[in-house]
Subunit: 249 residues, 8 copies
């Protein structure tokens, strides 16, 4: 149920075609589909502007197949699943011929309708090649949500001159996602150069004292540059959702 | 130097009134004023859309007085100082008759020009009364940056019904700042109800195992609701800067 | 030895059928069975109202088989084993034809007597599908201890509307177990809506900064809602034991 | 608004004395009183079985005075404030002649009606004398909520024989609150001896490696004894609320 | 080189049989054998009363084989290797027919001379069956160092009555090693009952919030009972060395 | 009640002078004195070989005065109080003319009987001058428990040559207490040089990343030298108790 | 591009052979080669005195092969890759016949030109055999950067006498790299004996409470000896780069 | 005793003027002066190239006065004391008329001989004004050790353009000390621009999630730029010692 369909329903109420009580029942039933061990949230797109994602990690293959199967069969919307290992994709790829797998980003996408394109450009920058899986997850999500994305890879601080040629692209962005492990200093550097909001994604890339991404996380939270919002470690999906909300309208 | 003044200068270059080399020198000299133990960043407003703030914590009274004195005397822009204890304000209040002190937020503000108002409304919501100092810092900053702010206080999760009457205000916001200590669950709750970006500010309010705001920080980073960007513990200033960048245009 | 059997023994002492010294010897011998590398606690049911559990993690297959074998052969009570991987069950399933395995919850149960049913209902709610294994462990334990359980799955805060239809069930519960990973905010939400004790179980589900369940744990300990008691990360068993004690009488 | 008053209102609706719409308005208005910087939750007693507490830490004296003043002036219920330093009490003691201060527990109480007494006894046990402030906070709260409390002080594990004489009291309790710092082992010891729920309160008492109560907190969460629910460090108030919910009915 | 052999050498110096310079050379050469990537410490037995151990974890099979081979071939002393996985033992078992493997404790021992027996008894107590591997490592070490050991297994606090029958053994010990995971409360309990030194060994056994043994470690360090010295997590070897030094003479 | 007095009592039972029931009553009453908010443990000397200590931190002046007053008035044994600030001593110094205060170690001692001297010498070594308060607490405790103590101050690793002249004293010790902050490496150094047990006391002395003694604590727990038992941060008292138990007999 | 080649280019500018604009273009293009998912930094040798390293961990085999292939095909410089597992080497070993693999240090090296030798000697010392992989990584890096290296293995503090024979080598070093796990005390010991800079590398070697190298890291940061700089856990490469910079000139 | 004086002594031995035994006695006595509660290390200058510092924190005023008094009265060398609060200086300023106090850096210095100047320049750069106290401590130490220092203040990453004008100074430095709090990204930025060793000093400056400097510390340890050695939080003294060793010769 998206905003337009809801408007139709409400109009039917206004015109008397639909009784208030019936509308209430309809709306009460709509919010989610009960699938035994899971619920599928049909209202999220209406409420938050993006469809429900299937976070595959920690779910059994059977659970993912049931949820995806429902979403593919019963609905007409786009489908996104994250943290999907290759073996998982192998067990669900028969559900729809257009279900597409991104091996680096570990995402599964079924795009059935084109979301209205957001204004402006979203830049996704990574500090190093090892940060690419997180950036890919962000890219697939942002793409599905209608954002026009430009990618800048491997521009970590150790080679600042790598960043300089990309300044024009960085500066014209409506929003930026900066993905970095180790000390995460790329965030401070970029945020000091642009006047658009920067979404910082710490990654678990690094030597021992990165402590699974803690060093990058703390670094980004303490960034001396303003205009930075931080999301969870390795959470490319969350970064893209935030970017889409910033770029809406 | 703001964007308009820079445009004038560039126009002078284009028209031949100003030689390229002279313009270069001018721009090279402009970026900051050297005050011995500190530098004042004159370019930040141009570069990032908000003026430099004086973060008073850890600076001596003499250092703050010197920096504020320079900013007040030499420039025409707005001035903002954060983390200013009452005794500090007492030692600098004579610098300008309109320097205003917010005792709860511990901010000093001198507003000399009105920044162009941002589109939409910024909502600043707090979970409890003890979170107000951080919210005040955010409010003063956002106000100075041209954001129209609506405040919602003391709507923590323990009393969810407190939140319900504010839903219309929450939902029409262009951006939201949610300030909460303890477990910070208000962020998840609000972010699940709106389709605008939520800036989460953890505070150091709570019993022992809040560990100085760590519990709220981790809670917000792990929020199961999408569209959330987190800033540092008790960092109301940073939240407002991010909000201003999101609401620009 | 349960309370009734002990009463018989004491009555035999009172009536003179059994000498005090003999009774002492009997009781001294009873508390546990010595199995070489392990002891089986025969008194716990008498002392704490629930039978000893076999926590399989960290034990060799041989050790588990010896302990289960003793419990099945020598006693008439119910048997519960937790954290049992499928390969472990395969090596002990021949011990009793009615030994039942719950693959999701990784529990083994042999129910030989029906415990008196507790008053009221125990609600076990999970935030997401990935929290189900912990909830299953709690369910099997609570069931064996005589609690009537109602399950509510996948009602995490990101979709608060998912929770609303379950309010009647939540509010009539005698006790609730809330199982959640990530930021664990479901606990605050539920505890703010009911007037029964809430047992909070943090799970290790989440992105990087959940730090193995630490984020959910701290969130639950800092819940701004009252009436919450927290157990160890992923400890469904412990939550069910506490629930059974609350619901007794 | 407590349960009885709500029943009257609903009866008026049923009998037609009160229109549904008017009742809705009445209930919508009731939930809380808006006091500028704070809200007073009038519904909590109805919803959760205990009145709202004023957590004074982090609030200014003016804020506490305004909140307490409202609660005392406008309502007929009991009032409880925690974490109140002596100087704070000095500034509000004139609000009501019967406002009573507990210097050890740092609580302020105004008892205006006697809550119906709970079934059974609540035992509050402390490991050492330094844990008494937390136990006092729990005692005052539990007392106000209608629990009959027995106190056992200074029975830490280092002197297990101190505990033995209290076994009869421990074992007949309907619920127990165990307050301990250092390693918190008293919780495991007590929980292994009783068959009632144990609420564990870690305190910040101890040498350096107690890390502000972290050692006791982890110890209690990892207790090898079942039937334990843990609350926040030094949170005597939360423990008593949980106890009251357990003992209701 | 042990104390007796050194005395012979020094006597030879005193009597003139051995020149001072030659003795110096001999002693300079003796301390260790250089094996390329490792050194074997021949002096430790002389200096510290126990032979060097081979800590296998983190060494390649080739490195362990070279070190063990040297120790077996060149010397007449006892040999002890810890943290030896079964596959490692398989690759070195041919080095000596009497090299014995303890699969539970993961130790390899070659006992060629009987160390003088220590006075008194060493008690090694474990809280649970899962703590046995650490206790076995301690047992093998202590045995080799000449301590007479008594074992008490599976006497964790949850079943305090399990401990009571062992009080006579506990109380007559010259020293005690207590091995426990989870909250480690067995240490406090035992140390409160005996008047001999207690060596506490935290183990990594437990649910999530044991954080790899951190909970037990902090618990033991904060034990409210006196007379406790703590060693590293899972360090059965270190506990036995300390016990041997305590029991010497 | 010490061991000798208990033997007299038991002999009276054996000879018939004292009925068994009377003896039981006597022993039941003896363990501790009930002082309202505290208990004084009269049995600890009997049970553990050292008298109960009064840990003043976290107790009010009134509580300490009551406990000390009881111990001084009712008993003939030695009295030890630790963590006593000068102001506290000022409020209790009138209780007994021989109550002695150690300002550096913050201990109060009343020695009324001389404990039998332990065999051998206890060496207490500090790494730096700032570690002296902890060493003084250990010294006063050990002295009271009958240990002959030698002190070696300020021999930290940065000046290893400082340690060398003390080798003879270090090596003849029956037990050693090593007190060190910062990285605590003195423990590894000393333990590698002696063949007696080393009790390691981390202190909270150091620059920022000592994190209140955590660095020294972890360093000592991970010491590559054997024969080390660690106590809590800054816990000189606990170290001395352990030393006394090691040196008994 | 190294310093000599750059000088040629600049000389061509000075002499007029090369126009300034052309030189600018040339230099702008030079800094790095764009390889799709990665960038190869051609300027680092010029800028920092050492060539770019390929950090293989977290990169796919395909990514490493592409990067190495470019570096080998297009350039004449030396190549270094770290954290390369044996299977990775197997997939790239065909790229060049002289690509050499160090299985212990997990490095791949292709040395095509001999860097000018640094003044003085670099000593790399390890505390134990398990620290060798990190020392090997440092050795390969330092060797490639032109440092003359002397190795001292297995000289941990537990056997200080092991260190003494190496004092002459330690003291004549121009710089030292000390690699140690556990408590890392070897750093303090060595730094107290020499007057050259010591680069400390904590390793993740140790029992449980080493927490993945945290104990050694904190120990080294808190070293009471001066002249110590610490690098990341297990970061042999970083240590060697720092050493090379110190030894230059 | 410095290197020259020692050479004289050894020459006297060689020439026969001084007997070997007398020289041994002389050297044995020299290493340190015993001052009761402290030792003054007379050899450090000989051994490590810099005099012993008095770390005042944690020492009583009397202890500092005794140590300084000895150093001033008995010796002719330079004196340095760090972490000296103003009140402490007030109590020792009479010891020598030239004892100089740096209030910002909290150091006391008595310079009596000019150390030979080091080759090259040491650059000390700070990210913000609040980092100045640490930089001052480093400056005073480096100055006393003979380093020629250039200061660059307030060049944090948030204003990268602030750094650019200083590039020539940064690039000609023989060594650099970078002092930064918050996320410490200035270290990565500087280290990527220069080819000299960078000594990174994290400071405890920052908002809540800097956790007393932990964020900056981890950031610096994880710097993606090579050539960085990290010292303890706020340890300006240690940074300067390391710099002096790097710049010697």
């Amino acid at each position: 149920m998206n905003r337009r369909r809801l408007a139709d329903l409400l109009e039917a109420v206004r015109s008397g075609e639909l009784a208030v009580g019936d509308a209430l029942d309809l709306l009460r039933d709509l919010p989610y589909a009960e699938l035994g061990e899971a619920k599928v949230d049909n209202h999220r797109e209406l409420r938050q502007g993006y469809p429900e994602v299937v976070f595959c990690q920690g779910k059994t293959k059977g659970q993912v197949r049931e949820i995806l199967g429902y979403m593919i069969a019963e609905r007409t919307h786009n489908v996104l699943a994250t943290r999907a290992e290759p073996e998982l994709f192998a067990t669900v790829s028969d559900l729809h011929p257009e279900l597409r797998y991104n091996a680096l980003g570990r995402t599964m996408v079924l795009q059935r309708e084109r979301v209205a394109e957001k204004d402006g450009t979203l830049v996704i920058a990574t500090a190093g090649t090892a940060d690419l899986p997180v950036a890919e997850e962000a890219f697939e999500t942002a793409n599905l949500l209608g954002a026009r994305v430009e990618r800048i890879n491997d521009v970590g601080v150790a080679g600042m001159h790598r960043l300089v040629p990309h300044l024009p692209v960085l500066r014209q962005a409506r929003a930026l996602i900066v993905v970095a492990g180790m000390e995460g200093a790329l965030v401070s550097l970029v945020a000091g150069l642009v006047d658009s909001p920067v979404i910082a994604v710490p990654t678990s890339v690094g030597y021992g004292a990165s402590f699974g991404g803690l060093a990058a996380l703390l670094g980004m939270l303490n960034s001396c540059a303003g205009g930075v919002g931080v999301v969870n470690i390795d959470n490319g999906y969350g970064a893209a959702c935030l970017a889409a909300l910033i770029m809406r309208s």
